[in-house]
């Protein structure tokens, strides 16, 4: 299902998380619509967008859930972690506090998301060079320590935004692909052409599909 309007080989569910005001919604709008709004409204609960990218000869459709950063929304947003295969954990390089908050977000993911979720740490607002409060090295070190991918982006001038999403999606694709090959060898499971959708639309039975997630 859901293949009528556009064709894709894989559908990955991604979540965008991080403190309030770090630029999650703008990263998403830059990626999906190439738009940036300095005064974009605060996200309430969860907002949704999609975009397809080409990687390694495959079309991957990203179903991205942009979550509200405020603490009070944690209960509602954490429900969206379920079934997500990737997460962009965003902080603001000009706000130390948002970098400190990364630890707390990792815990959130550990508590509510699939244990195999691929996480990318994103230091956003790299255009604010004169206000930088978190160095690139600090970010990278933290990412290495927790085995996360790492990138610095600027939604404002579009630096690395496309790369961040594509890199995450490619990483997920490789894992999934590898797993699919392994499972092909080990079992009779063989996805039919065009049916190798990893994360189904929520319309599908969620519980039953979890096995197919990447590892």
């Amino acid at each position: 299902m859901a293949r009528s309007d556009d064709e894709y080989d894989y559908l990955f569910k991604i979540v965008l998380i991080g403190d309030s005001g770090v630029g999650k919604s703008n990263l998403l709008s830059r990626f999906t619509r190439n738009e940036f709004n300095l005064e974009s409204k605060s996200t309430i609960g969860v907002e949704f967008a999609t975009k397809s990218v080409q990687t390694e000869g495959k079309t991957i459709k990203a179903q991205i859930w942009d979550t509200a950063g405020q603490e009070r929304y944690r209960a509602i947003t954490s429900a969206y972690y379920r079934g997500a295969v990737g997460a962009l954990l965003v902080y603001d390089i000009s706000k130390k506090e948002s970098f400190i908050g990364v630890e707390k977000w990792l815990k959130e993911l550990r508590d509510h998301a699939d244990s195999n979720i691929v996480i990318m740490l994103v230091g956003n607002k790299s255009d604010l060079k004169h206000l930088r409060a978190v160095s690139t090295d600090e970010g990278r070190e933290f990412a290495e320590k927790h085995s996360l991918s790492f990138i610095e982006t600027s939604a404002l001038d579009a630096t690395n935004v496309e790369q961040a999403f594509t890199q995450l999606l490619t990483e997920i694709y490789r894992i999934v692909h590898k797993k699919a090959l392994t499972s092909e060898k080990n079992s009779s499971f063989k996805p039919a052409l065009g049916e190798s959708v990893v994360v189904r639309d929520p319309a599908e039975d969620k519980g039953a599909r979890k096995k197919k997630c990447c590892s």
Binding site: M1, A2, S4, D5, S20, G21, R33, E35, N37, E39, S40, K41, S42, T43, I44, G45, V46, E47, F48, A49, T50, Q63, A68, Q70, E71, R72, Y73, A75, I76, A79, D201, P202, A203, E204
Partner: protein
């Protein structure tokens, strides 16, 4: 069917509580909705009344020529307002005419050129039939101030009023008379009603439900929100006390936050200062620095006084209609406008209301210079009105936001009953209501509908018992019903994108009337009967 008596009784009891002096100081004494919280009885199994009504209604919806009398047959004991719905403009015509046949394209178009969209919307409004909306400018000036002199506790306009009244008393008097003649009987009656020593709130609700004339909107809202007592003689004193109360809270909140602020308060202030500037309204009014400071203070004081809720993103949106309505009153009384600003909506008052808000100068003012002296009082008034809006829906904002979750469950059950096709479609597509309706409730639809539409909706919502906590569920169902024809054709992704960005150019006065009337009918059907259906939809 004997329930109508109960219903009326409830209304009067609730209004007694609602207008009790001192009520606002004790949030814990908040009025619990009969419909949502304390309904007894289980008619869910049989429920013949609801089904019969639903069937009849479905038939009516498919028929283009509906006579008002049919509705009277269905709801024989409904309040008089039920018979006055604009039935000629019925639902089928709306979605087909106004909605883009390719909603996805609409959504994209909106995103790509927001400014353009607004322009188109305005153009469309102008094209509509506003023949009665002539620029009857200056006469309202005297009308307004004269009116204010009799009922407003504020003294800010006394000087202006006297001079203007004495200078051109005669000519303005005749214009006021002219205006009264042009008004529908109901609306000239509104003026009399508000000047009574004791305002008959039930009667006021019956009239204001159809849309408040802009001239009286602020007064009506303040009365309906319970900020102004319905006894005119007590008004000055009570409002003075309330404003003083706010000022004390304000100084306490801020002295505390500067010296020994708690961690929670620090976070609240940080979040508020982050959110208020990105209110991102299309209107200049909300971008004015003085007004943004006002919003921040009101939000902070409220959050500090309600620690269980604190500040939750989206509360700033809820302040917008209140600030606009309260400020426009002050603005009107201070400015000798010669434009449409003073236009008293004539004839079919409700039909003009959206357009009038859209055209209101207040929304585009560039500076608050001549208002700044009055902003203190407005700030206190906004605070108390905001407080009474949130009073009944505090559980929307407490930990894990149980109030919203519960309303979404109610909405889902209601949808299953009133729009079974759409309900099934959502199920098939894997759409969960929480994915879009969460924001609907969290921001009381303010993010979803154009601002003038919200102001008009609130006219009705404020007349409803537990309007924000209960009536809004029906309003959301009505909105989905309104969009059903388009939604039913969409798949998961398109559905979510559409419902998170409902096109804003589909609204006219008559479509809003249908929206709110449909909500009213369902409310009467399921909740007003007091048969416990809201809990059992």
């Amino acid at each position: 069917m004997s329930s109508t008596a109960d219903y009326d009784e409830n209304l009067s009891v609730s209004s007694l509580i609602f207008f009790e002096p001192g009520y606002w100081e004790f949030p814990q004494r908040k009025f619990m909705s009969n419909h949502l919280h304390s309904v007894e009885g289980d008619l869910a199994g049989e429920d013949p009344y609801g089904f019969v009504l639903a069937d009849t209604l479905a038939k009516l919806n498919t028929s283009e020529e509906v006579m008002p009398s049919s509705y009277e047959d269905i709801l024989p004991k409904a309040p008089p307002r039920a018979a006055k719905f604009p039935l000629k403009e019925h639902l089928p015509s709306l979605s087909t005419k106004k909605l883009d046949p390719q909603p996805d394209a609409t959504v994209r178009k909106q995103r790509d050129s927001n400014g353009k969209e607004v322009a188109e919307y305005k153009e469309q409004s102008n094209k509509s039939d506003w023949s009665f909306r002539e620029e009857r400018s200056s006469r309202s000036g005297s009308f307004d101030t004269t009116f204010q002199s009799s009922i407003t506790p504020t003294d800010y306009d006394s000087d202006d009023k006297q001079s203007s009244e004495s200078s051109s008393f005669l000519s303005k008097e005749t214009e006021a008379q002219k205006e009264t003649k042009l008004l529908l009987p109901e609306y000239s009656c509104l003026k009399k009603l508000l000047q009574q020593p004791v305002v008959n709130v039930e009667r006021l609700k019956q009239i204001a439900w159809h849309g408040s004339p802009r001239l009286y909107r602020s007064i009506i809202w303040k009365i309906l929100l319970g900020y102004w007592p319905n006894v005119n003689s007590r008004r000055t004193e009570i409002v003075k006390r309330k404003r003083e109360d706010y000022r004390i809270s304000l100084s306490r909140a801020f002295s505390k936050s500067h010296k020994s602020e708690t961690e929670q308060e620090r976070l609240i202030w940080r979040q508020i200062t982050l959110d208020v500037p990105r209110l991102c309204s299309d209107y200049n009014l909300f971008k004015l620095p003085a007004l943004q400071e006002l919003l921040k203070r009101v939000l902070f004081v409220w959050s500090v006084r309600h620690p269980a809720c604190g500040y939750v993103q989206g509360m700033n949106d809820i302040l917008m209609p209140l600030v606009y309505v309260l400020l426009s009153e002050v603005y009107q009384s201070r400015n000798d406008c010669s434009s449409t600003c003073f236009t008293m909506e004539m004839g079919n008052v409700t039909s003009a209301s959206i357009h009038c808000v859209e055209q209101d100068k207040v929304l585009s003012i560039q500076a608050m210079d001549n208002l700044s002296l009055l902003l203190d009082d407005v700030e206190a008034d906004v605070y108390w009105c905001f407080n009474s809006v949130l009073e009944s829906i505090q559980d929307f904002y407490t930990f894990a936001q149980p109030g919203i979750q519960r309303r979404i469950q109610l909405l889902e059950r209601l949808l299953g009953r009133v729009c079974p096709n759409l309900y099934d479609h959502f199920k098939r597509q894997g759409v969960e209501l929480v994915q879009f309706a969460f924001r609907w409730f969290n921001c009381l639809l303010i993010r979803e509908l154009p601002f003038p539409v919200i102001v008009r909706l609130w006219d009705s919502v404020l007349c409803e018992e537990d309007g924000f906590g209960s009536f809004y569920v029906f309003l959301c169902a009505s909105l989905l019903h309104f969009l059903e024809k388009d939604l039913i054709k969409m798949e998961f992704q398109e559905l979510i994108l559409f419902l998170q960005n409902i096109p804003k150019d589909i609204w006219t006065d008559s479509s809003v009337e249908v929206l709110v009337s449909q909500a009213y009918l369902w409310r009467e059907m399921f909740a007003g009967t007091k048969s416990g259906m809201t809990d059992r939809i």
